[in-house]
Amino acid sequence: MPDVPLLEVRDLVKQFSARPGGRRTVTAVDGVAFDLRPGETLGLVGESGSGKSTIGKLVTRLLRPDRGEIRLAGRDISTLSGRAMRPFRRDVQLVFQDPYSSLNPRHTVGDILGTALRVHDTVPRSQVAHRIGELLGQVGLDPAHAGRYPHEFSGGQRQRIGIARALAVGPRLIVADEPVSALDVSIQAQVMNLLEDLRAELGLAFLFISHDLAVVRHFCDRVAVLYMGRIVEIGTREQIYADPRHPYTQTLMAAVPDIARLRGGSPRRIRVPSASPVAAESGAQRSGCRFRARCPVAAPVCAESEPALTLRAGGHRAACHIR
């Protein structure tokens, strides 16, 4: 049944208090819904504060949502306790942005991968060492280096270790939060190719969180654009990049400096758009479209009601009154 979604997210809400112990809240994720099929890659893009990383932490249940459903292969995991969640953690694994802070510096690479294998009883104990070597080989590292510590590896190699750790338990979905943002360009391409190979070999689905629109375009089948905790546009790669409907998506695309412009024609003139947002605080601008203060095409109707995500073409949805 290839059409059954691996992940179904419905009406997801997460609030944080604006200050520790304070009563004011910030709604980081505000009613987000999407599906992800087995083997599919969905990109989450948006500016800092748009809620994309929070969604990643909710889906991996590092955070507990305030409202909404997260269905993994049909089973709602949004309110499971830590213990009840454990079997599902094998299915969903996280790859972090910073390969320097996400690996324990006092554990060898073998320990790091071995822990993941043992915690989830993925392979018989006698097989652990063999499996560690296999995993290292799979991510392009020398299996003989299992005894080394993280500091003995470069940034790109450490990110490979983080990927190997995610693969250790045989997940079906990988949430990758800015997995190549901390890497140099030439190394970034190596890691992107590794992710591409793993996707093809293992049929992994990805929730791929990135601020880099070119990287997302390269890697993702579908893309969701987030603005202040909401999806403002979602569609296939072609729909989002060739035919963006929401003015915010268009603003983002226009802001990316792209070297292709140099080779294609004259470099664009930089426009200076209006100020960037701060995360939505409850009470402030709760009515109407949240993008309207920065929107080049805002009209009176935009202050009256918040636009819903409406269908524009097969699977392409945007939340805008005007476009």
Binding site: S154, S186, A189, P257, D258, P267
Partner: protein, 342 residues
């Protein structure tokens, strides 16, 4: 014809580390004219930041060995006494950094910090300096500058903090602005604003700008010339259009090939540069890029491994130069898989 405002010649920066020597920058030379922007690009450890810090004498003299010549506005900066350097920092040349929040004092208002930078170089009253600070805040695009001058850094967003840093850097009207990854920590929409601001102020003040970045897209947008650094050396240098449009060094070409793009075909595999940069502790003869390069076999003998190539003229009246033994690298690259960006 007058000399270029900035003339760097054979700049070398070395750090003694545990009985060995890190060669951060080796034999770097370039010019920047007033009203122009030079981009210095390269990966971590390529020497792009180390070379710019050396321009203003910002390396610890006890822990670094700096040789060569840096002339800014006709004055030699290498070997200049600390007291004179302090006079020129801010006045002649100013610098902004990647993380604006870390560069601002959290306990002092932004207006005070900008005014302080002004008073360091001008004998004036606090009130006059304050007025100057407010004026600068307005010029870098902060709305309601008189009121915002009394705010603290934490009351500003990251992009606003970078505007404050730019205001502070330009308050003494320096003729050279060095910006070290000024937009790396910022969202793309804010990045576009900050780059537009820097370009606008460059035109308004007629200053020279050195922009250090790892982002080739940023280079395309706001720079006139680009210098590509690898393992402490300049490997390709020239007008942006020429260098990025028809690269003549395998490293530059590889960087362009490894980038995913917003146009052209999507998906498939990228073409990364294999391997990793060389260990800066090892003094290697030959081309610093040879171990990752695809083309040493096309060069007669073992020259890539043994002889450092000169910065040879490739195009544009000597303006476009690169350090490669291949006789006609552009033609060699053209024979490869067609660059996906064209």
């Amino acid at each position: 014809m007058t000399d270029p405002f900035v003339q760097v010649r054979d700049l070398t920066v070395r750090f003694p580390v545990a009985g060995s020597m890190v060669r951060a920058v080796q034999g770097l030379s370039y010019d920047v004219e007033l009203g122009r922007t030079l981009a210095i690009v390269g990966e971590s450890g390529s020497g792009k930041s180390a070379s710019s810090l050396a321009l203003l004498g910002l390396h610890d003299r006890r822990r670094s060995i700096i040789t060569g010549s840096v002339r800014i506005g006709g004055r030699e900066f290498i070997g200049m006494p600390e007291e004179q350097l302090r006079h020129h920092r801010g006045n002649t040349a100013a610098m902004i950094f990647q993380d604006p929040r870390a560069s601002l004092h959290p306990y002092l208002t932004v207006g005070y910090q900008i005014a302080e930078a002004y008073r360091l170089h001008h004998r004036t009253t606090r009130r006059a300096a304050r007025a100057h600070a407010v004026d600068m805040l307005g010029r870098v695009g902060i709305a309601n500058p008189a009121r915002r001058a009394g705010d603290f850094p934490h009351e500003f967003s990251g992009g606003m903090c970078q505007r404050v840093m730019i205001a502070m850097a330009l308050v003494n009207d320096p003729k050279l602005l060095i910006a070290d990854e000024p937009t790396t920590a910022l969202d793309v929409t804010v990045q576009a604003q900050i780059l537009g601001l820097i370009a606008g102020l460059r035109d308004e003040f007629g200053s020279a700008v050195i922009l250090i970045t790892h982002d080739l897209g940023v280079v395309t947008d706001v720079c006139d010339d680009v210098l590509v650094m690898y393992a402490g050396r300049s490997v390709e240098h020239g007008p942006v259009r020429s260098v990025l449009g028809s690269p003549t060094h395998p490293y530059t070409w590889g960087l362009l090939e490894s980038l995913p793009s917003l146009s052209g075909p999507a998906g498939g595999r990228l073409h990364p540069i294999p391997g990793a940069p060389p260990d800066p502790l090892e003094a290697l003869p030959g081309c610093p890029f040879h171990a990752r390069c695809e083309y040493p076999a096309r060069v007669a003998g073992d020259r890539c491994r043994t002889v450092l190539p000169d910065l040879a003229v490739r195009a544009g009246d000597g303006a476009h130069r690169s350090r490669c033994h291949l006789a006609a690298p552009a033609a060699v690259f053209a024979g490869e898989i067609a660059p996906r960006l064209i």
